[in-house]
Amino acid sequence: MKFLFRKSPDAGESTPQWAKDFPINVEEDNYVARRDFTKFMVLTSFAFFAGQCWIGMQNVIRKKRGEPAMTAIADLKQVPVGTVLPFSYPGEHDPCLLIRRSETELVAYGQKCTHLSCAVTPQVEQLLCPCHEGCFDMTNGRPISGPPRRPLPLIELSVRGGTIYATGVQERTV
């Protein structure tokens, strides 16, 4: 805190403003005026406060919106074992992948990579994001390698009378 109580080095009257802003001497360069420091602290605290308000507001809005409606995706017959079907859920701009791994195992994930939202493509037992070589496990949507750290959103499914329905989205963090 020593710098707070140091006297301002006198750069001289004839020195132009730009030279005062970018001084050559280390002493003047390191000098922080009390007023500047206070301004920085106040503005930073305000930014943190505004950020917290924003997060709180988002939570309220999300709760108000409620669960997305149950939507029919496809008939079971349209998805033979080992195939992938792209669909959108819950909105039009939320691309997802429906994957039938075996006769009984049916999974669906959001298609946006959790790193930078590129579209993941199905590979053998893996979902690959080609942008930065991110790999996700096809069985649970968790990241295996590459930059993504969070798993893909899991789409909850239910099969009724030969039709596959999407019933909800699980946004997971781990």
């Binding site: 970018f22 050559i24 001497n25 280390v26 002493e27 360069d29």
Partner: protein, 226 residues
């Protein structure tokens, strides 16, 4: 912090061109094995005379003034530091602006590097690498009293003139004590011609030389010059 009464003195006339300073400087890992000292030939065609060039550490460093990235700083003890790595944009402005031609642009690192008077050593009370190895002590680091005792026929000058621009430096240049000069006129020597084995540049006024005793130059050397 550099001790206030310690100074760097350069005496180019004592330089024997052994390159020891260049080697010693290059061994230091603070500048990644690159020598930051230049050993220049005064007039290669006529003479083997060399002159070591280290940063003169100007009171108002031109390199720092022209830096658009605010990367070159001067410490309170008057040492102009090498460019700060996170700031330097490798624009070479300082290389072009320095009147002594000291800064070097290392395009491999995209960084300007220059002599910082071995700040890691001198701030701890040690001498710079080049001054420790120089066998003829053309590069001398010590107090005013020491240099006066060691070189009774020379005196230090730290004012340089480039046309109308006056540059005062922390590093001092040794000139003959008989030469009644207060500054070294660098640009006046631009078109100067050396004769035979004797190197004499117009960095000091001609009449000052005339006033000097002839004993400074050996008579046989005088005779051999055409």
């Amino acid at each position: 912090m550099l001790s206030e009464n310690m100074n760097f003195y350069i005496d180019p006339s004592r330089c024997i061109g052994c390159q020891a300073c260049v080697q010693a400087c290059g061994e230091c890992d603070t500048h990644k094995g690159h020598p930051m000292i230049h050993l220049e030939y005064v007039d290669r065609a006529h003479s083997t005379q060399t002159a070591p060039v280290v940063c003169m550490h100007c009171n108002h460093p031109t390199c720092a003034k022209v830096c658009p990235a605010d990367a070159i700083k001067k410490t309170p003890d008057g040492v102009v530091q090498s460019a700060r790595k996170p700031r330097c944009i490798a624009c070479s402005n300082c290389v072009l602006a320095c009147p002594f031609g000291v800064p070097k642009m290392k395009s491999d690192f995209e960084l300007m590097m220059k002599c910082d008077m071995c700040y890691d050593r001198t701030s701890e009370g040690k001498r710079p690498m080049c001054a420790t190895v120089c066998p003829s002590q053309a590069l001398f680091f010590g107090t005013q009293e020491q240099i006066e005792q060691l070189r009774p026929r020379s005196k230090p000058v730290n004012e340089f003139k480039f046309g109308r621009e006056v540059v005062r430096t922390k590093v001092r240049m040794m000139v003959p004590i008989e030469a009644a000069i207060e500054h070294i006129d660098v640009t006046a020597a631009m078109d100067a011609q050396t004769t035979s084995r004797r190197v004499r540049l117009n960095v000091v006024p001609e009449d000052a030389f005339d006033a000097m005793s002839a004993s400074l130059f050996e008579p046989e050397l005088e005779g051999s010059s055409q």
